[in-house]
Amino acid sequence: MAQTLRVPGSHELRRVIGDGEAIPDGEVEGLEERDLLELYRSMVLLRTYDERSVVFHRQGRVGTYAIFWNHEAMQAGSAYALERGDWIFPSYRESAIGLLRGMPVSTVLSWWRGHPSGWWNPLDYNVASICVPIGTHVPHAAGLAWGKKLRGESGCAIAYFGDGATSEGSFHEGANFAGVMRAPLILFCNNNQWAISTPLAAQTAAETLADKAVGYGIPGVRVDGGDVLAVFEATREAVARARAGDGPTFIEAVSYRTAPHATADDPRAYIDLERVEEEKARECLGRYEAYLQRAGVLSDELAEATRAEAAEALRSGIAAAEAEPPADVALLFEHAYAAPPASFAAELAELRELLDG
């Protein structure tokens, strides 16, 4: 499929959800009521996970936590366009995306609690480990997608990263690799317009991040990141392109970080609080709820039941995480090698003696 490469800055922001007034609601072909509600459930689960995590942090029950409030549409919409066999490469911002693949809530909470039960096996969910060093997982995703293609397998991969990540060498190298190998990869950029305190304008001189795709010879699309249906549709197209052998797509999802970067951050020093309030007023879950109500798909009872279900998942999730037995120090020495060096046993014995001392 030949793609026309656009001139810089010409990317339209794709939208499906209207504003209930001047902008009419659209529809996504092929999405049935069941799908619309499944997307809703996913967003509510993510929202609940996030809001509860901030509370758990304040209560000292989880450590430093990267808040993803108002990012749920990007995560749920894109993940819904994938098949179970496709691979997800999350950054810390998508720490809970495994929940959409059946990962227990307690697992993700445990990661933020610094407990080993939070270190899942990616093979169980086709969700790679949470990537902390910015952008360094992009080449992994390119390699996995390329490797699947080499083996004649049909799967594709999606890599999530932020606007700041597009400044990293790793992002560039991974994107270029994917382009050259025509790897079945979706490069999903969550453009929340901030990298901690650094605004997008200080991050790049490009008019849009989607423009960067031109340099890799791949299509770039720009979508309203607060519009779960637009995100879904754009990702579905990118997945179709990948499966058809037409290589990677760069998706720039434009949103806004309305919360601190993480629980340790105080954005009052650098952010425009009025803008934050404006963005909060149009946050993604509320917009989708209003859409579903206008479409007559979501009743108050169903919304209430969905929220209650998510709240219960978090209640039992934190209970399960807190019921994990304390990590044993033997874990220090496990899994760094397939066959640990002999010295580890002696070091563990010595450490135990001191700790039990």
């Binding site: 450590g63 430093t64 810390y92 990661w111 933020w112 609690r113 610094g114 407990h115 080993p116 939070g118 270190w119 949470i130 902390v132 060093p133 910015i134 952008g135 700041g164 990540a165 400044s167 990293e168 060498g169 790793s170 990298a195 901690i196 305190s197 650094t198 200080a202 991050q203 790049t204 340790a264 951050d265 020093a269 650098y270 304390p326 990590a327 044993d328 120090v329 874990l331 220090l332 020495f333 760094a336 060096p341 010295s343 580890f344 070091e347 450490l351 001191l354 700790l355 001392g357």
Partner: protein, 324 residues
């Protein structure tokens, strides 16, 4: 003199050095508007302008590579790496250029740049916010490495690094950024690179440490009070090393325990032990013992305390040398 936290002392050094030399500029991720995620650069942007306290794109190789070019243009850039492990993308520039350019130009060009970063564990952080990468840096020819353990040294070593004609890497113990307070000389304060600090005098054994392990060594020495008299040597600069101070202390006590938070194999402690083997053989009355992190990735924080060299492990090692 003022009583400052370790990170306030760093901030103080910046205010003094940027005020003193107009060619010094600070650059890094979030150093400007936010004043750094640990607030080490707070107030600099307001005082010296956005061109001398620069919020860079999120690109560590770019930061250090651009700093090389800034040096060529006559600047003295001080680069912040936001955390230890996030400095790794800059290693390519460090090894292939920063440490070689003076040599490559046969002394024709100098590269008076500084790379500073918070390092070390114990802060209950997510993965890769806890590394002790000093050995990678110390192993690189052409660069110097300093690690302060007190607020006064944090100010003085940073000032020395900024004034030094060669590239200097400064690792700052983030565990003690806000929890350690100390007297810090006001105004210009320089602690020359290459001079160790005798943190505590003793006769029976020496604990050699740097950075976040100095307080651990001091507490171990206290725990041994009444049993043995322990000297604590804070080496402060890993490169150039104050060999004289190391050999003098080893010569005096005859017993040496080296403490490092980083993994064991090929860590900086091995270098110290090798120097003692080469130059202090006849002074030593017991084998040199290293107390280190283990040869594993820094662990999940719920068990990080078991990874970090503890007072108990250091005490046990000292006793071993005493009983040898």
């Amino acid at each position: 003199m003022a009583e400052l936290t370790l990170v306030e002392a760093i901030n103080d050094a910046f205010h003094t050095e940027l005020g003193r030399d107009e060619s010094v500029l600070v650059m890094g991720e979030d150093v400007g508007r936010a004043g750094g995620v640990f607030r080490a650069t707070a107030g600099l942007r307001d005082k010296f302008g956005a061109d001398r306290c620069v919020d860079t794109p999120l690109a560590e190789a770019g930061i250090l590579g651009a700093a090389v070019g800034l040096c060529m243009a006559g600047w003295r850039p001080v680069c912040e790496m936001q955390y230890d492990a996030f400095s790794y993308p800059c290693l390519d520039q460090l090894i292939t250029h920063v440490g070689r350019y003076r040599w490559r130009t046969r002394g024709g060009m100098g590269f008076p740049l500084v790379v500073r970063m918070p390092y070390g564990g114990g802060v209950r952080a997510p993965e890769l916010h806890d590394d002790s990468p000093e050995a990678y840096y110390a192993h690189t020819p052409g660069v110097k490495v300093a690690i302060p353990s007190t607020p006064a040294d944090a100010k003085g070593l940073l000032a020395a690094a900024i004034r030094d004609p060669d590239p200097v890497i400064v690792l700052e113990p983030k565990l003690h950024y806000r929890t350690m307070r100390g007297e810090v000389p006001a105004g210009e304060h320089v602690v020359p690179l290459g001079e160790a600090r005798l943190a505590r005098e003793g006769d029976d054994a020496t604990i050699v440490a740097y950075g976040s392990m100095v307080p651990v060594a001091e507490r171990a020495a206290e725990a041994l009070e009444g049993e043995a008299s322990i000297e604590v040597l804070d080496i402060r600069t890993l490169k150039p090393l104050d060999e004289g101070a190391l050999l003098a202390s080893a010569g005096k006590t005859g017993r040496v325990v080296i403490v490092q938070e980083a993994p064991r194999t090929a860590g900086y402690g091995a270098e110290l032990a090798a120097i003692l083997a080469e130059k202090a053989m006849l002074d030593l009355r017991a084998p040199v013992i290293r107390v280190t992190g283990y040869d594993v990735p820094y662990p999940y924080w719920q068990i990080e305390d078991a990874y970090m060299p503890s007072v108990e492990r250091v005490v046990a090692a000292v006793r071993k040398t005493l009983e040898f």
